[in-house]
Symmetry: C2
Subunit: 404 residues, 2 copies
């Protein structure tokens, strides 16, 4: 249907016009609350008045930045890419909320309500462990990255995937500017943190660092390997003790695999930094370290298993590769992917300290001295990740960098 | 207009229906000859009966492989990409024949007739020197590669370029299969050359070589850097003592820059091999060596000049890079591009010895002993290019490899 902005008044009529939604609720009337606290979109919780266990999330993009208002226009086509990517990922992984309805023209998606789950970032701030997380997210990453790459897809299917996301350039530009550029120079959008001015200046004048960031930004802009979530931080993941769900994929595009794995590693590292400076819960720090190592090791195992189940592909024609050639190439491929992941993780960590968007784990620290300590530790780790990414041999190497 | 196959009978009516063509000929009747000797398309030469200096080339793709016939279907959409790429390159370089008319629906392009020029491969077989070639082709390469890359284009324009070519997957697959795969394994399409069986077997079992070829093929499939010609060999270039023109760009797509520079270097090297085994014209060998070195050096200079004229871009925001950062990154960028060019050149050289499509410079050698010598020398050079590409420091390094 043609685009119309939804609100708590007109949303019931809209939802009841959709047969799949009518069937889900099996009710005459709904209770609707606006629950979004994000910057970009409106998010509603719609629940059956007759049966409060029946609830759905309705997310709609508006043609402006929600947190500012109509005077800050932002194309609502971002929802098109969120819809397309979530629907693609849903065919590849069970770690995506159930999608009940989507409409690109309406910029709307209707999804499962995850009422018994928590945003992972908030859970980690509260020192909650998620014992199944490494297993779940490594399955998600292996399936979504492998099965949208030219290790798996035909040329025609890969080209169709590139086509479907290539015009998400408005959001790709946000990443290019705010992850890879502005934080490393004087820029009006950077956070005002006078206590970090000395280190911000040092970074802005570090030739080696800035050349390596250009290298990584160029890879981000030119390496069309797989369909990425594009913003896979712990605020885009809902968890509890038994489940893991990934959502908020409006930054999706066909890019370098290491950008998704790196984003996840970066956010685990920033939680580690936050706990390291604030409390002496050594066991929680150890759990984060183990999680980082497990995520990578399990991801590698699962990715290679999928690869071994795919004896021929657009890349490797039947009869081209002996077992020895395949194994040697796989080893090199995963090694290279690890190095790029750590490079991207470094950019992600540094930008969260200096740039426009921080992470609650660190910016939310109320004691300013402790917060500055966290900022400086994170910046130092991020810098080492970027400068050393081509020397990383195994995932444990980054734990050593974190602890120096 | 809707698609209709042209022939010497109906082509005059078609051409006179186009006002730009009527104006060009300014004549009542035309003489038309079918002159194509390629495998894929029909090529006609249309000349004014009143003024034989007025001639145009009409090239049309048919929905099958011309050299086999209707029983071998091949999508005529290849002409769509030839039209789009030549028209794009024509806005960026003067080394493209003048285009008088194009029609994607008719799969037809009408171009300047280069009657006073010769296919460069044929000229080089005859030991003709082209003193302006290095200067011309380096200008063509620097302009087309730089100005279709994210060093120059906005995100939106780059995305539009990717979109316009991403569906040329049928021809990209031909390159993937016949440049990077089939020649290095047992494959029914490979040339039947029993005298090379020992070296073909050795290559098919060389793990190091085959892993490096997979690396390069993966770059070809996933590195969306710039709009490439896609098949820039000396048979796609018309030359004489004063001009250089590039055509036949149906393999165009947004891919790794080094694939175009590498294709050109590969074909200069194969001409060198051909002369090296056949005659003792040391001066011509030296001219080829100097041309290879000049092409790279002039290309580098011109590419960097264009870059320095572009103080800000999607990659490098205004204020991000000091002169020192920019210079260090440019140096690294060109170094990396040289290495990838040599890797791609190695694949191109080897496939022309073992694969379905040879080059006349070598397959055309009538003395079978000399031809085998050329094949073996070319295979050895190609192998070293592939195995050593990450160790290449400067273009002169490949001349050393050729002479060992």
């Amino acid at each position: 249907m043609p685009y119309k902005i939804l609100n708590t008044k007109n949303i019931e009529e809209y939802l009841f016009s959709l047969s799949a939604i009518r069937e889900f609720f099996n009710s005459q009337s709904l209770e609707v609350k606006e629950i979004g606290d994000g910057n970009l979109n409106f998010v509603f919780l719609a629940s059956s008045k007759a049966d409060s266990t029946k609830s759905l999330i309705v997310k709609q993009a508006v043609p402006y930045l929600r947190c500012v208002g109509e005077e800050y226009p932002l194309s609502r086509e971002r929802m098109t890419y969120e819809i397309r990517s979530l629907e693609t990922f849903a065919t590849l992984s069970e770690h995506i909320p159930t999608i009940y309805h989507s409409d690109e023209a309406m910029s709307v998606i209707v999804m499962e309500y995850l009422g018994e789950h928590i945003i992972m970032r908030k859970g980690m701030i509260e020192s909650t462990r998620y014992p199944l997380f490494a297993s779940h997210i490594s399955t998600y990453l292996a399936n979504t990255l492998f099965k949208t790459s030219s290790l798996y897809l035909s040329n025609v299917d890969k080209a169709a995937l590139v086509s479907a996301f290539v015009d998400n350039s408005e959001l790709c530009k946000l990443t290019q500017d705010f992850v890879f550029s502005a934080p490393f120079m004087t820029h009006e959008t950077n956070a005002e943190l006078p206590e970090l001015q000395d280190v911000a200046d040092k970074i802005a004048n570090d030739t080696e660092l800035k050349v390596k960031i250009l290298e990584l930004k160029y890879k981000f802009m030119n390496q069309s390997e797989a369909l990425l979530h594009g913003d896979l931080h712990t605020g885009s993941i809902m968890v509890n003790q038994s489940d893991t769900y990934v959502f908020d994929s409006e930054f999706a595009f066909v890019g370098p695999m290491g950008f998704d794995t790196g984003a996840l590693i970066a956010n685990l590292v920033m939680s580690w930094v936050s706990h390291h400076v604030q409390d002496s819960n050594v066991e929680y720090l150890m759990w984060i370290e183990e999680t980082i190592v497990s995520v990578w090791q399990l991801f590698t195992e699962k990715f290679i298993t999928l690869w071994n189940e795919t004896p021929q592909s657009a890349l490797i024609l039947k009869g081209y590769a002996s077992a020895e050639v395949l194994q040697a190439y796989q080893k090199e491929f995963m090694h290279n992917l690890l190095q790029e992941s750590i490079g991207f993780a470094g950019c992600k960590i540094m930008r969260r300290q200096l740039g426009i968007a921080g992470v609650e784990d660190i910016r939310g620290i109320s004691n300013v001295v402790t917060r500055e300590k966290a900022n400086r530790l994170a910046l130092n780790i991020g810098e080492q990740f970027i400068k050393e990414y081509k020397n990383i041999e195994k995932i444990e190497d980054i734990i050593k960098i974190m602890k120096v």
